[in-house]
């Protein structure tokens, strides 16, 4: 059953890669955790004076870190802390639910690390937080609870201690 589920999942993923409009069909039919009240934290100072952090669900991690679990059809709710100045040779992407060939060639399409460094040089931001937090999107079933109650709060806490004053989140 698990194998069948996994296989079906792989086929669906391949379909998503090649038939883009399927994604919005899926989004319309899939059950998401729907938000009611929207949390709000005002920006305390202009972006030009703020330390910016990134969180991405594109499956980015260090080669030295354990890859995200691709065998579980419900995804992997864990995260990886990646130094913001990570050299190209030290990072990779583990994510079979999207075509990351462009991101493999140029990480900036999913995680604009070079672009944010340029903006810092131009003094258009105040600073770059020391760590990027990488998740693998596509989290479902029981892992949603782990994400909501464990990993996401831990990342929020870490971002605070990193001195992040604003966070930009990027999907796959």
């Amino acid at each position: 059953m698990r194998l069948v589920h996994g296989l079906a999942n792989t086929l669906i993923v391949q379909a998503f890669k090649h038939v883009p409009w399927l994604a919005s069909r899926w989004a319309k039919s899939h059950q998401f955790v729907e938000g009611r009240d929207i949390p709000w934290a005002p920006l305390r100072k202009p972006v030009a004076d703020s330390t910016i952090a990134f969180v991405t669900t594109a499956g980015v991690h260090l080669k030295s870190q354990e890859p995200f679990n691709m065998d579980d059809p419900d995804g992997d709710p864990s995260f990886r802390a990646i130094p913001a100045g990570v050299p190209r040779a030290d990072r990779t992407i583990t994510h079979k639910y999207y075509d990351h060939s462009a991101a493999d060639r140029d990480i900036n399409v999913v995680l604009p690390l070079d672009r944010i460094r340029e903006l810092l040089t131009q003094k258009r931001i105040g600073g770059i937080a020391p760590f990027v937090y990488g998740f693998m999107g596509h989290i479902d079933g029981p892992h949603l609870r782990t994400l909501r109650e464990v990993s996401a709060p831990e990342v929020a806490w870490r971002l605070k201690s990193d001195g992040a004053e604003a966070v930009v989140l990027t999907p796959a």
């Binding site: 998401f32 009611r36 594109a58 990342v155 929020a156 989140l169 796959a172």
Partner: protein, 86 residues
């Protein structure tokens, strides 16, 4: 991604998310979003298109300053591989 965004915002750090699935963003309701009708794997555009990537990142950063209504989705409307970034 919206769930993570909401958790971070609830902890007191302002957030903005780049979205390529408007239906999902409308359901999950993160505080600030910039939506682009782009394919999976390309939230900031094409590989090595520096101007495109910078423009989209700046749009996201600007949204942090300009959005005042929680749940706002900004739509710059850059058509995929047709819009000319300058």
């Amino acid at each position: 991604m919206g769930l993570i965004q909401r958790t971070i915002e609830a902890e007191g750090i302002p957030t903005v998310g780049i979205s390529i699935l408007k239906e999902v963003t409308e359901k999950v309701r993160p505080p600030r979003s910039v939506y682009l009708r782009y394919p999976f794997g390309h939230p900031l555009g094409d590989a090595f298109n520096v101007t495109q990537q910078r423009t989209i990142l700046l749009d996201a950063l600007r949204a942090l300053e300009t959005i005042t209504e929680p749940g706002t989705i900004v739509e710059p409307g850059y058509a995929w591989r047709r819009h000319r970034f300058e």
